[in-house]
Symmetry: C2
């Protein structure tokens, strides 16, 4: 169905080169006569010629594609983030190949391999744990890499993120300021660096304020199955709790569902979320949170990656985006 340059050339009795040059607006510099140029243009238009991007990329070495690797394209942090990224790249004529790791490192490795094979021109990555080797591999292949949201300090790459420790401390201080004297922290059991940073800031806060730390680590791989139950049990066993700090919004949502549902025993102390959610401001009571500025996060990621692509891989740098505490 789709005609190739070769066929078009034959049908017009000209060479492939001529057709290619005309199509790529190089007719003038190749001294193709206006008359022939127009003839080719008209024919190309008439048959609805569509270049084969694969062949084009093979010949030019440019795929005009970048890879975006997130944890879960369906969640309320990465989804909207991905939309910003997609739009920003579209403006620069790049397409985005996404994939979700679901936190599984083997998935992540497979995804990276296939993206390298597809010759993406750059990768934007929210890494899983144990991905250091592959991050190096990407760079060794000469593909620009920008890591965001979380990072392992061991690998030297451009890294765009918020200040987790600082933000977490602000959250603790907020809870204190509204009267919580015994609030606990709910996090996951996996070693994601951003989660560790948030936890450690809480622990530091406890130490300085003579508050006994109350920690719950929920099983990341089995949140849906066990989360609710574990959380309810833990809350019941800790009657002194007068507030909860969740290290991410999906945990907070889980918490809301587990602790505020039905009539039974409800826990109506303040809950605070790291990461906002579109419905947090109409819940009752409302949920305060640390808000990651998705748009500027995306803008920075895209800007840094485009620069690496255009000007070659440069000295790795940290890019810190500041957060906002939304008190509701």
């Amino acid at each position: 169905m789709a005609k190739s340059i070769k066929e078009i050339a034959q049908e017009l009795n000209v060479s492939k080169s001529t057709v290619s040059l005309v199509i790529n607006h190089k007719a003038e510099q190749a001294r193709i006569s206006k008359e022939l140029e127009n003839r080719v243009l008209a024919y190309v238009e008439k048959v609805g010629y569509k270049p084969n991007a694969l062949a084009k990329s093979l010949a030019t070495g440019r795929s005009n594609t970048i890879g975006l690797i997130v944890e879960n394209i369906g969640d309320s942090f990465f989804g909207p983030f991905a939309l910003y990224v997609e739009e920003l790249f579209r403006k620069k004529n790049y397409h985005v190949l996404y994939s979700s790791t679901l936190g599984d490192s083997q998935n992540a490795r497979d995804i990276i391999d296939s993206m390298l094979e597809k010759k993406v021109e750059g990768i934007l990555l929210a890494p899983t744990v144990d991905l250091e080797e592959y991050q190096r591999k990407i760079l060794e292949y000469g593909v620009p890499l920008v890591v965001f949201d979380r990072n392992s300090p061991a690998v030297e790459t451009h890294y765009v993120h918020i200040d987790n420790g600082d933000s977490s401390r602000k959250a603790c201080e907020h809870l204190k300021s509204i009267g919580c004297r015994n609030f606990g922290l709910v996090t996951i059991d996996s070693d994601q660096p951003q989660m560790l940073a948030r936890k450690n800031a809480y622990l530091g806060f406890c130490e300085e304020n003579d508050m006994e730390p109350r920690l719950l680590h929920l099983p990341y791989q089995q949140l849906k199955q066990k989360g609710t139950q574990l959380l309810r049990k833990w809350a019941a066993e800790n009657p002194a709790l007068d507030g909860l700090f969740f290290t991410t919004n999906y945990l907070c949502i889980l918490g809301l569902k587990a602790l505020r549902s039905e009539g039974e025993h409800t826990f109506d102390f303040p809950m605070f979320s790291f990461d906002d959610h579109e419905l947090f401001d109409i819940l009752n009571p409302k949920i305060s949170c640390i808000q990651q500025p998705l748009e500027s996060l995306a803008k920075t990621c895209v800007k840094v990656l485009l620069k690496e692509i255009d000007q070659g891989i440069s000295q790795p740098k940290e890019h810190i985006i500041s957060t906002k505490l939304i008190a509701r």
Copy 2:
């Protein structure tokens, strides 16, 4: 950095064909000796050979990529849907190239063009309005197409969807059953067929039940800027309202924010949403809804598209997925 088959062949003093055959596990059928096969395999492993997927696709005519075109990858319907789709295709060794149209037909056309150029093997599309011509174009290019969520009856393609009219009627009956006698419908002003079907079912219900229709069409392109205000004004002008039916969840969220916020005038009649949302069951009062079974929707889409890819384009068919009314 990355070695090609050609280089590997030279370094081993064998032909490119040999290397290619070995890599593709065709050594035996090509009578390559075990000894040579192992030598090649070992070397390939040692240098970390990674095939160039572009070249491969060009040669084989298979890109192992499918295109997914949604309205907004960041929203709570398409995001989770995309995750299912991605996972299902990954199992079959396909990768997914997503893009968001944001409801803009020109965006949609550009996206389709570039996907065709990238030689996707199939397209899964939630169309915008005015996309009939391009849907035909896809098929003329010989690329299998499955349309979901909404469709224009004019184009004959495989179409996976829920029964919007029927579901909408169920919603109306539910509202009636809980005592609403004067509920209104909030929808958007664009002509998306699924929205029209939902609206028409409401109008039919009104007629049969001698209920005066109360309709609000919010401007799709300027929801964020004007939606809240328009909705508040309309609600205030219609004091008889005793319930609201929103034709999609983002409208319902907008409604919740506009009508239940702050102390001022609050409207505490029932609100009903077409499409569920992860927080609807902890709001107070809870939000009942029509739930589209995302997973089976995704499964059907993927199954139908894979069949088209494997067995060739077939007679278009409608595939209807049933919804669930979640009364809360």
